[in-house]
């Protein structure tokens, strides 16, 4: 399989997995036609000669992200999904390398990752300076790790056990998804609260939960019926143990189906080869003049490049000031993508040492960065600024340590960063 080079291809093709594990690129014709049209439009307005491929790639990524945010183009998400295929694939490979899971293969992880593309797009802040790809290279592994951690847990939970391990937000979302009325949802919520009060380990510190039998349903129902008038007022109605059992089992099924559906059934935002009839005429103006001007100015901004160089300098200096062990721990984590367990083995350290070293090393870098940002104007630092710096630091660290290119088999692509 070849690596993608052409701009039009980057924004209109998708990885397709075969049963034998090999993959190839498939073109989404609608995306391709649209991209083709946009590129032509662009060429007419901007002198092509001055732009190299990398900077063009950046432009289109920013352009579609802008359209996606402003909801001005129906195909924006499709273009971005196509664009981030390598990032997601790379993350999937990383996760596969780090965590042995009989459950998932590369294509499963790619599906899980792409199903969450909106989370990635929401998190990307162009102002921070890193490219969308760099951001996605950080965000995808994090997202996949979270999903894997949660799904591993979920697989160990009984259906009622899962109800004890879910946040209220997710519980309510799963119920809303089913189209229940708000009055009905309130009843389920109260039932869930009563359940959480009574379905707890019998002996503190042990993990054994009460037997699920009639007496449990009766106890939950009694509590529900006692609390119902006070909590739900006129809308609440008395419940029976049989209904209670049905409510809670049903909720558990909804929660599982909503939050952790089988990977095969994930609803991918963009995977079609050809979608519907060709009604290209109703697409909006592909390029906005203002964005174009802004982009040209943005790209030519020398100050930004100077600032980037300075920030890199600050991080490198701060890194050098760390003790050798901390530097090594950071390298293992960011450059080699090792898990804590692997670092413990490689560096012969205890778990507590690895986690404290890593945390404290990264903290030292953030502190150096924040202190540097205070210097020029002696400006006051706000908690919000620190929060932004921290997000940016993660991007800078990934740039600094470099991300290995995704391995497509015979060929590898030299991926450029930053």
């Amino acid at each position: 399989m070849h690596t993608r080079q052409e701009i039009i291809e980057l924004f209109s093709t998708f990885l397709q997995f075969e049963t034998d594990g090999l993959s190839h690129w498939v073109t989404d014709l609608r995306l391709r036609r649209n991209m083709h049209r946009c590129v032509e439009d662009y060429v007419q307005r901007v002198s092509m000669a001055t732009r190299d491929r990398r900077s063009l790639e950046q432009f289109w990524a920013l352009h579609w992200h802008h359209c996606w945010q402003a909801k001005t183009h129906p195909l924006a998400e499709g273009h971005l999904s196509a664009y981030l295929q390598e990032s997601c694939y790379w993350a999937a490979q990383q996760i596969l390398k780090q965590f042995t899971s009989v459950q998932f293969g590369v294509s499963d992880y790619c599906q899980i990752g792409m199903a969450e593309i909106r989370t990635i797009l929401r998190g990307f802040k162009p102002d921070r300076g890193a490219s969308l790809k760099t951001f996605a290279n950080i965000a995808f592994p994090k997202l996949l790790k979270d999903q894997l951690r949660q799904r591993q847990e979920v697989n160990l939970c009984s259906s009622l056990g899962l109800l004890r391990r879910i946040s209220k937000k997710r519980f309510l979302e799963a119920l809303r998804q089913t189209g229940l009325s708000s009055a009905a949802i309130a009843q389920y919520q109260l039932a869930w609260m009563c359940f959480n009060t009574l379905y707890v380990p019998i002996q503190t510190g042990k993990h054994q939960l009460p037997t699920v039998d009639q007496s449990l349903w009766i106890a939950i129902t009694d509590l529900y019926n006692t609390e119902c008038p006070n909590q739900l007022g006129a809308t609440g109605m008395a419940c029976t143990p049989a209904i209670m059992e049905q409510w809670l089992n049903q909720s558990a099924a909804w929660v599982r189906a909503y939050l952790y559906p089988p990977v095969e059934s994930l609803n991918l935002p963009k995977a079609g080869i050809e979608s519907g009839s060709e009604r290209q005429d109703d697409l909006p103006d592909p390029l906005q003049e203002s964005l174009l001007t802004e982009w040209v100015m943005w790209e030519d901004n020398q100050a930004r490049q100077v600032q980037w160089a300075q920030i890199r300098g600050v991080i490198v200096t701060a890194l050098e000031q760390l003790d050798a062990q901390s530097q090594e721990v950071l390298r293992c984590y960011y450059q080699q993508g090792l898990t804590q367990q692997q670092i413990m083995q490689q560096l012969q350290m205890s778990q507590a040492t690895v986690s404290r070293r890593l945390t404290k090393a990264r903290e030292a870098l953030l502190l150096a960065l924040v202190q540097w940002s205070q210097l020029p104007l002696n400006s006051s630092t706000t908690p919000n600024l620190i929060k932004e710096m921290s997000a940016a630091l993660e991007e800078w660290l990934v740039v600094h340590y470099g991300v290995p290119a995704p391995d497509f088999g015979r060929q590898t692509e030299v991926q450029e960063q930053g």
Partner: protein, 396 residues
């Protein structure tokens, strides 16, 4: 396997078997499986985070002493660490999905319980770790948080939290004085009687959600006062409160507990004037005491008549010598309950619990005892109405 998902932006803290055993022990004084489990998760998290922070700031401490914690965890989730004046509220959960930080309203809307920072903490006792994965401020919770009236909590979505504890530590070091709190509405002042009533009602272990059973402001006003919270907890656990001994000689130094009030705050002027008058004694030679204090006793609704009664127990005392004290004891209705309740009975008992005097309003018009005793001698007063009895114990 244990901490394979470790992330340097989070605090992943190991729970040793000793830490687990300690937390189990701390949790056992709560009353129900769910409150014991809540206490267990909170104790695990609190101890682990405190150790972690103390490695750098040895002065960090828990807000409440270990003995006072079960009373909090009996009814509400959360624990506080103090870094100087800064308060960190830890909110443990077993939820695996990291979708939100859900904070009980008590920690957000009670002026003396507010925190500066709120830390989201996942506890995983069976795998032996806790992880702190995000934080926010009181300001953010109040301005961006979703309030759930059913569960009385404020929630902030993961996108609105800072998912980086490095940032927390750097913020603490660089802008420790940045504003974090929003002003909240003060809670009402509860009277002692209101508090007693609430404690009686919510102290019933059959009330599954005491924190949701009465309007929030009443609940918070009760909960945030340590002695009331302790009383509520003891009642829910079925602990008989040892009657505090009232030490009358401390009154000579002007030391009174809040329940023993000045006479004119409780009684009407004519009641004060006639308090020590008896049918036998003329106004001119009725006794007067150097110190007079009164306590309002509440006899909850009589199971037969359904009426509640408030009676005043008035104590008067004058030292006769260094070792001898002259005492008066008088019982009368409080203000509006002007008619005296016929079925009240009072017994005076000596230090060994033997009856030394007895009176009832049905027989005599007023209930009154006058006697003298030695310093250090004990006696008690038993007030009975219908099937209820209150006892007050004294040391002269």
């Amino acid at each position: 396997m244990m901490m394979q998902f470790f992330d340097p932006k989070e605090w992943w803290l190991e729970l040793s078997p000793t830490a687990q055993a300690e937390a189990i022990q701390q949790s056992q004084s709560c009353s129900t499986p769910v409150s014991r489990h809540r206490a267990y998760l909170n104790a695990l998290g609190l101890n682990a985070v405190l150790d972690w922070i103390r490695a750098e700031l040895p002065e960090a401490n828990t807000w409440l002493a270990a003995a006072s914690l079960p009373a909090v965890w009996e009814v509400v989730n959360g624990a506080v660490i103090q870094l100087g004046a800064m308060r960190l509220v830890l909110i443990p959960t077993e939820a695996i999905d990291d979708s939100e930080l859900e904070v009980p309203q008590e920690w957000v809307d009670s002026p003396n319980w507010i925190g500066d920072y709120y830390l989201a903490m996942q506890v995983k006792p069976d795998r032996g770790w806790v992880r702190i994965w995000g934080y926010t401020t009181h300001q953010a919770l109040k301005s961006l948080g979703r309030y759930d009236p059913l569960g009385r909590t404020y929630s902030l979505d993961v996108e609105q939290l800072t998912p980086d504890l490095n940032a927390f530590w750097v913020t603490y070091q660089i802008c420790g004085s940045a504003p974090t709190r929003t002003v909240v509405v003060p809670l009402p002042e509860l009277s002692i009687n209101q508090a007693d009533q609430l404690i009686q009602r919510l102290g019933d272990p059959a009330i599954g959600f005491p924190r949701l059973a009465v309007p929030f402001s009443l609940w918070a006003a009760l909960l945030t006062r340590e002695d009331w919270r302790q009383a509520l907890y003891e009642r829910r656990c079925g602990i008989e409160r040892a009657q505090p001994l009232i030490r009358l000689h401390e009154w000579l130094q002007g030391q009174f507990t809040a329940v023993w009030q000045a006479v004119d705050t409780v009684l009407l002027p004519n009641q004060v004037a006639s308090a020590w008058r008896s049918p036998e004694s003329e106004a001119a030679n009725s006794p007067e005491y150097l110190i007079n204090r009164v306590k309002v006793l509440e006899l909850g609704p009589n199971s037969a008549t359904g009426t509640a009664a408030k009676v005043a127990l008035l104590i008067g005392m004058t030292p006769v010598s260094d070792t001898q004290m002259k005492l008066g004891l008088h019982i009368c209705p409080v203000r509006e309950n002007a008619t005296f309740l016929q079925d009240i009975q009072v017994r005076l008992l000596d230090g060994k619990g033997i009856e030394v005097g007895q009176a009832s309003a049905a027989v005599t018009e007023t209930i009154q005892f006058q006697f003298s005793g030695q310093i250090g001698e004990r006696f008690s007063v038993e007030v009975t109405m219908g099937d209820q009895t209150l006892t007050e114990s004294f040391e002269i």
